[in-house]
Amino acid sequence: MNNQINENSQNQGFISFFLSAGCADSATALKKSCLVALWFVFLTFPIMAVRVNTIENTVTWRLMNMVNVAVAVFFGSYVWRWLLARKEMSSAETSKETLIESLLSKILDDKILKSVSFSLIAIMVVAFPFALDNIYLTNIMISCLIYIVLGLGLNIVVGLAGLLDLGFVAFYAIGAYAYALLNMHFQLGFWTVLPLGALLGAITGLILGFPVLRLRGDYLAIVTLGFGEIIRLVLQNWGTVTMGPSGIANIARPGFFGMDFSLQQNLIYLYYIMVFLVSITIFFVNRLQNSRIGRAWLALKEDEIACQAMGVDKVKTKLLAFSLGATWAGMAGVVFAAKTTFINPDSFTFWESAIILSVVVIGGMGSIRGVIAGSIILILVPEYLRNFAEFRMLLFGAIMVLVMVFRPQGLISAKRKIYHYKVSNTASAGNE
C-alpha cells in the first residue's frame, strides 16, 4: 500500500497523488468521499437542518446547510486522507522530529543561543503583567500557570511512571479546601498553608496509592476516577465541614508582609507567585526525571517483573510517584483558592481531571516543554476564543483528535538525557 502511494506520487505529481491519496485510484477515492459526505449529511441532519421553535411551534428547514456540510466534508475527506498518507510516508522515510522540535534542540545545544533565548523568555514572563496592564489577561495567565503546575504534577504520575490517573483533580481540591478551611477557621495565611497543602496532597496521594498498587491500565484508571468522584461528593455533601455546594467565600488573598494591595496589584503579585512556583516545579521535575528514581519510573512503566529483577522496590517507587504528583496538585489548589477567593465543589469535577490529562497527553507525555506547550494551547486558546463561544468545545475536541491522529507522542515529545560513557570500541566509534 505504502509503496504504491510512493510510486504514485513520483510518477504523477502532486495533484493526482492528492486525488487518490490513501486509495487504490482516484475513482475509489471519489466514491469514498461521496459516501463520507452522505454519511455526514445523515448524521448532522437533526442539528444542522431542522430548527424547531417551541414557542411559535414552527419548524424551519435549513436545507442549504446540508449542502454546505456535504461540500465541506467532501473536500475535507480528501485533505484528511492526503494528510494521513503523507504522515505514513514521512514516518517511513525520515526521523520523527518535527521542525519545532529540531529547532528547539538546536537552540538548546548551542550555549549562547540557549542563554539568549532563556533570558528572552524570562524577560517576557517577568514583564508580562506590566507590559499589557490588563487584569483579564493576567488572570488568564495565572490559570494557565496553575495548569502548568498541575500538568507537570500529573506528568510525574502518567508520563514518567505510566500510571493512568483520572482522579487527579481530587488532590487539587484537597489543596484548595485545605487553604479555604484553615483560613476560615484559624485565619492561617497563604504562605503557611502552601506547604501544608503540598503535604496534604502528598499524604492523600499515598492513601490513594496503597489500594491501587496492584492495578494497572484500565483498572487503575477506573479506581482513580472513582477516588476523584468520592472526594468531590464528600466535599459536596459534608455540609457541616465543607459548607456543601454553596462553597466557601471570602478566602484571603496572599499577603506580602502585611501590605495592602489593590485588586490589580494582588493579581500581579499572584502572577509572580505562580511564576516562581512554576520555575520551582520545572526545576524539581527536571531533576527527578534524570535521577535514579526517574529511571526506575521509566523502567517500571515498561516491565514490572524485569524491574523487580533489577532490584527496584516496586511499592516504594509507585507510591512515590503518586505522592510526588499529588504534592504539586495540592500546592496548585492552594493558589487556586487564593486566586478565586471562592471555591465550591463544582470547580473540581471530572472535567478538570480530563483537561489536566489532555494537557499532558497533547503536550507530550514525559516532556516538560510539552506540558507547558499543552497547557498554553488548551487553556489560552479557549479563553481567547470566547468570541466564538459556541464553537469552543468543538475546536477543543478537534485539536485533540488531530493531535492523537497525527502526533500520538504529543506536540513536543520527550527526550531523555543520555548518559555518556566513553566506550573504547571501534564498532561504536563509527556510530557517534
Binding site: R292, R295, A296, L298, A299, E302, D303, I305, A306, C307, Q308, A309, M310, G311, V312, D313, K314, R416, I418, Y419, Y421, K422, V423, S424, N425, A427, S428, N431
Partner: protein, 238 residues
C-alpha cells in the same frame, strides 16, 4: 566448597495451587548447575521462589548461610542474586544503554559501572553497535544477550537464567551458552540455569537436577545424567 544457595524442603503455591513440593537443592560457589524438566514442571517457579517474586510457604531458602525466604525481591537483588527472567523482558522503549544502566540500578560506583559496561560490550559486540537503539527494535537473540548483559551489570554473585535458549536459532544459542561459560570462568559467577534444551544445558553445567510435576526426581553430575537411560529417553530424545 561452600554452599552459596540452598533450598530446604521448599513448597510454593500460586494461590491455592501448589507448584513446588518439597524441593531440596543446593549450589556451590562457582558452580554451574542446571534444572531441566518438561513444561509446567515448576522450573521457573523454583527461580521465582529463590528471588522472592513468589514466596515459599514452607521450607527455607538459604543464601550464603542466611535465610532469605521471606525477603522482598529488591532486598534479595541487593545481596547479589540477579535473575534473567523468562521471555527476556527487556525494557522495549529504553535504549540498549539505558537498559544496561537499569541493570546497575542498585550500584553507586560510577567507575565500576563504566568498566562493567565496557565488559558487556566486549562480551556482546553487537550490543555496542546498537547502543542507542531502543531495546524493542532488537532481534530475539540480541534481546536475550541484552537481558544477560543487563543482569551482569548488577555484578551478581549468583546469576539465575530462565530458559536463555527460548525461541532462538541454534547458532545463537551456542553463542549465548559459550558466554555463560565464559562469565562463570572469568568472574567465578555461580550460575543457576533453567533449561528446556537439556542436551546443551547438561553439557555446560557441572551438576543437574531433573524436575517433574513440581518435584525433583533425579540429581547427579551432568556426565552421569547424560548417560542415564531415563533422562536419555525423556529429555534427550535418544
Amino acid at each position: 566448597m561452600t554452599k552459596i544457595l540452598e533450598l530446604k524442603n521448599v513448597d510454593s503455591f500460586y494461590g491455592n495451587i501448589q507448584a513446588l513440593y518439597d524441593i531440596n537443592l543446593h549450589i556451590d560457589q562457582g558452580e554451574i548447575i542446571t534444572l531441566i524438566g518438561a513444561n509446567g514442571a515448576g522450573k521457573s517457579t523454583t527461580l521465582m521462589t529463590v528471588c522472592g517474586v513468589v514466596q515459599a510457604r514452607n521450607g527455607q531458602v538459604m543464601y550464603d548461610g542466611e535465610e532469605i525466604t521471606k525477603e522482598a525481591p529488591n532486598k534479595i537483588v541487593a545481596q547479589g542474586i540477579c535473575q534473567v527472567p523468562e521471555g527476556r523482558l527487556i525494557f522495549p522503549e529504553l535504549t540498549v544503554q539505558e537498559n544496561l544502566d537499569m541493570g546497575a540500578f542498585m550500584r553507586n560506583d560510577k567507575e565500576g559501572i563504566k568498566r562493567d559496561m565496557e565488559y558487556s560490550f566486549d562480551l556482546f559486540p553487537i550490543l555496542a553497535e546498537r547502543r542507542k537503539q531502543q531495546g524493542g527494535t532488537l532481534s530475539g537473540g540480541e534481546q536475550q544477550m541484552l537481558a544477560i548483559a543487563r543482569a551482569l551489570m548488577a555484578k551478581p554473585r549468583l546469576l539465575l537464567l530462565d530458559e536463555p535458549s527460548m525461541g532462538l536459532a541454534p547458532l545463537i544459542v551456542k553463542q549465548i551458552f559459550d558466554i555463560i561459560k565464559k562469565v562463570n570462568a572469568e568472574h567465578n559467577t555461580t550460575i543457576f540455569l533453567v533449561e528446556q534444551n537439556a542436551n546443551l544445558a547438561l553439557k555446560i553445567a557441572h551438576r543437574g537436577y531433573v524436575m517433574e510435576n513440581g518435584r525433583i526426581v533425579l540429581t547427579d553430575t551432568c556426565d552421569k545424567l547424560l548417560a542415564d537411560e531415563q533422562v536419555k529417553k525423556a529429555y534427550l530424545g535418544l
